[in-house]
Amino acid sequence: QKEVEQDPGPLSVPEGAIVSLNCTYSNSAFQYFMWYRQYSRKGPELLMYTYSSGNKEDGRFTAQVDKSSKYISLFIRDSQPSDSATYLCALRAGGTSYGKLTFGQGTILTVHP
């Protein structure tokens, strides 16, 4: 079993749709929960992060963490063609100063006009 599993597979939605991306994980040591966005032929860039359970909102993006269920989500409201990218969840254990990230396999999102 992989430490982090990401759903869904490739996603194609119309402009303005609400998008839901999810990851489940098995290691309860994970304390930091991040979402990275990766445009084609670019490196990942941090989109949002949360520490502990709860919701965090930033503009059209909302990140949710449910540590009891080991489940994290990213919601994108009013999706735009510029949101087309690969979205990666990334998790990090607490109690370490070295910051090792464990990534999900990524979801390719295409928003068509």
Binding site: V4, Q6, Y32, R41, K42, G43, P44, E45, L46, Y49, Y51, L88, A90, G94, G95, T96, S97, Y98, G99, K100, L101, T102, F103, G104, Q105, G106
Partner: protein
């Protein structure tokens, strides 16, 4: 502030050849990471350095991969000899060390194709 620099951006080699990638992290970032990202997968950590010391190389295939960061700044990752399954994007990232939420910044990657 300049980002993480990597070179070359693309490399095509034949199997059994050797190849090296270079990374220059953001100034002042003592922690440096090399990740391998196979097409359709998320990045997988190969090795991480704190200054010029290795703190985790548990997923580095040491029979063919090596990495160094001699002066605690630039780093090189080498593959010798390359196999077909090494075709991937090799990402370098850097970070200010600490237990808080210090962001990892990624370079653009080197896309390796092994024929």
């Amino acid at each position: 502030e300049a980002g993480v620099a990597q070179s070359p951006r693309y490399k095509i080699i034949e199997k059994r050849q050797s190849v090296a990638f270079w990374c220059n992290p953001i100034s002042g970032h003592a922690t440096l990471y090399w990740y391998q990202q196979i097409l359709g997968q998320g990045p997988k950590l190969l090795i991480q350095f704190q200054n010029n010391g290795v703190v985790d190389d548990s997923q580095l295939p040491k029979d063919r991969f090596s990495a160094e960061r001699l002066k605690g700044v630039d780093s090189t990752l080498k593959i010798q000899p390359a196999k077909l399954e090494d075709s991937a994007v090799y990402l370098c990232a850097s970070r200010i060390p600490g237990q808080g939420m210090n962001e990892q910044f990624f370079g653009p990657g080197t896309r390796l194709t092994v024929l």
